[in-house]
């Protein structure tokens, strides 16, 4: 188990190295730079800026310098906002995104798993049809469309909820639904098909033959087995929701990590692009690792060594 853990950590570091390398190369391959603006800077100033941030050094040298900084835990200064650092952006943005993400995850789990169970148990009945129709809509309609519709009805027409900001709990309602809509639908469908498959297994027939009620057959014998595929997708889902949806944060004007990221890309704020990408990748990998370790607890057949 410990050896497996170490192996995974080493693999993560290797993966991160390549993510840094690829992002770095792609970023520099894109035309323009942090100091390319609508208003043309005088060549002297641009030259001075490039000199200051070592952007005139050969790429391998820049890359090496950057790696050394990252290894010291320093993602560097923002090129666009003087006096701000990328570490500062992450420190400001991530807690906001994580808070919204955490609430969304709770919403997703509490909605999707019961939905999937009800749909599976009432397979083919109207409850199943209704829930799966909703889930199909949730999977197919993009979150920004859902967000716009939610704002239109609940904020603009009914005036129940604010259109933007997260100053009170009310501000969370619409972003959470818009952000979690896809995951709720996806996980509900997964839960349904997984539970249906499990219900057809021989050991469920054994459980019935023991004289268990259908309720206990599901709760004691089927659910845990059916949750395994759901847990698999949970790792990436959690990472996704916690690091912030760029679109949803933008629509609801939530100052999360996503907004910094989107802005940094369009402004060629090199260090911010790199920093947020690395942070996101590392967070995703840690979540996947946690989920993999969690498998052992739920499924005794899985042994890591």
């Amino acid at each position: 188990m410990f050896r497996y853990f170490i192996k995974r950590l080493v693999m993560m570091l290797v993966a991160i190295f390549f993510i840094i390398l690829l992002t770095f190369l792609m970023m520099h391959a894109v035309p323009g730079g942090p100091f390319t603006n609508d208003k043309k800077l005088s060549p002297q100033i641009e030259e001075a800026m490039n000199e200051k941030y070592h952007l005139n050094d050969p790429l391998p040298v820049q890359f090496k310098d950057y790696l050394v900084n990252v290894l010291h835990g320093d993602f560097g200064p923002s090129y666009k906002y003087p006096g701000k650092t990328v570490n500062g952006f992450i420190g400001q943005g991530f807690p906001v995104s994580a808070r919204l993400g955490f609430i969304t995850i709770l919403f997703v789990l509490l909605a999707a798993i019961p939905m999937g169970i009800v749909a599976a148990v009432r397979n083919g009945k109207w409850q199943d049809m209704l829930l799966m129709a909703l889930a199909t809509i949730g999977v197919t309609i993009p979150s920004f469309v859902i967000a716009s519709l939610l704002i239109y009805f609940f904020a603009f027409r009914l005036n129940w909820l604010p259109t933007y900001g997260i100053d009170s709990w009310k501000g969370y309602v619409l972003p959470v639904i818009a952000l979690g809509g896809y995951s709720v639908s996806y996980i509900a469908r997964l839960m349904r098909s997984s539970l249906l498959e499990v219900m057809g297994q021989d050991y469920i027939r054994t459980a019935r033959a023991k004289g268990l009620s259908e309720f206990h057959v599901i709760t004691r014998h089927a659910l845990r087995n059916a949750l395994i595929p759901v847990i698999t997708v949970l790792g990436p889902t959690i990472a996704n929701l916690m690091t912030g949806s760029f679109v949803i944060e933008k629509i609801f004007a939530i100052p999360g990590l996503g907004v910094y990221f989107v802005n940094s890309v369009s402004q060629r704020d090199y260090t911010t692009i790199m920093g947020v990408t690395i942070f996101y990748a590392a967070f995703l990998m840690v979540m996947v690792l946690i989920v993999d370790l969690f498998y052992c607890m739920i499924d005794p057949r899985i042994k890591y060594d």
Binding site: Q201, A209, K210, G211, L212, R220, H221, P300
Partner: protein, 346 residues
């Protein structure tokens, strides 16, 4: 229903509604089981033997429908009529089942000890946790699982197929059921383990007067274990006989075919086993006449047209075959003394 009879199945019909049409898996099966008796249900895959037993406990999937005219009388109640709680009180307590595939019949996420003790807990909630554990351990000992204490908290994947089947048996025996249904319990196992499991089933009958329905396609196992046999084909019982009668004087061509496809130790090795040519009928559209007629070497014109009724041959021996009809001609008829030699030709 005589005093000794604990189970009386009458005209059991089970139909699966599928997208390809209705599959008539069981088409009117009637038989009984006496107290302490071991009855074999024999037939090849798809003959309806498993579905018959699953239908009795209503363990068939939702797509299956048991006909309204069917009845399964067990200890005074009709299992096709009772619902919910009543049925659950019978499952696992009065009638227990051992399933065909021990690899997939245990829940992979629950320790085996817990799965067995759950069987006790469901029907005897008054027993304490410790009591249940002790009973489970002695069951493990009874089915000869080595180091029961240590194995109690092991998971199914840590056991071999034979061991898992023993756990299934331990589970089925937990509440000393009156009737045990064993659905090909030895099919997935090698011969030495098979032998031990058959011994255990015999011991069970001896010690507890448990009745057993033993489902198999292996007449060799039947000969070792059963008192009486029902031979199924195409969702129907073709022949019913006491074990000696079945082997000494089979009265159905299908039984003859099954018997000549058993290998025997004394048999001349240069002689090949004789499989029954052809394959079982498509049950979405079962033949109008005798389902075995298309594969039967003795089939006559009438066999394809009309389903024969049972002919009683002796005490507890009946068979569904036109060749037994008093008007059946003697030529090419294995059941007439004139053509005794034909039996060997099968």
């Amino acid at each position: 229903m005589s005093e000794d009879t604990i189970l009386q199945v009458k005209n059991l019909r089970t139909t699966f509604h599928t997208s390809r049409g209705d599959v008539q898996a069981v088409r009117g099966v009637s038989f009984h089981v006496n107290k302490g008796e071991i009855v074999g249900l024999v037939g090849e895959s798809g003959s309806g033997k498993s579905v018959t037993c699953m239908s009795m406990l209503r363990l068939v999937p939702d797509t299956a429908e048991v006909d309204k005219d069917s009845s399964v009388l067990f200890e005074g109640s009709d299992l096709t009529r009772i619902r919910g709680r009543q049925m659950r009180d019978i499952r696992g307590e009065k009638i227990a089942m051992i399933f065909q595939d021990p690899m997939s019949s245990l829940n992979p996420l629950i320790p085996v000890g817990k799965q067995v003790s759950e069987m006790i807990a469901i029907h005897h909630p008054e027993k304490s946790k410790e009591e249940r554990k002790q009973e489970t351990l002695s069951l493990f000992e009874a089915v000869r699982i080595p180091e029961p204490e240590k194995r109690y908290s092991s998971y199914p994947h840590e056991f071999s197929g034979g061991m898992r089947q023993r756990i299934m048996i331990a589970m089925a025996l937990a509440n000393h059921p009156d009737l045990l249904i064993a659905d090909e319990p030895t099919t997935a196992l090698d011969v030495t383990i098979q032998d031990q499991i058959l011994k255990q089933l015999r011991g069970l009958r001896r010690d507890y007067q448990t009745s057993i329905i033993f489902i198999t396609h292996d007449l060799g196992v039947v000969a070792e274990l059963c008192d009486r046999v029902e031979v199924l084909y195409g969702g129907l019982i073709m022949e019913e006989a006491r074990i000696d009668d079945l082997f000494d004087s089979p009265r159905h061509p299908y039984t003859l075919g099954l018997l000549s496809s058993i290998p025997s130790v004394t048999q001349d090795r240069t002689r090949r086993l004789k499989p029954i040519p052809g394959s079982p009928p498509d049950m979405t559209n079962p033949p109008r006449g005798c389902p075995f007629a298309p594969r039967c070497p003795y089939a006559r014109r009438i066999c394809a047209v009309a389903l024969p009724e049972f002919t009683t041959i002796g005490a507890e021996h009946r068979s569904r075959c036109w060749l037994l009809d008093p008007e059946a001609p003697a030529s090419n008829n294995p059941f007439r003394p004139e053509s005794e030699g034909q039996t060997q030709e099968m």
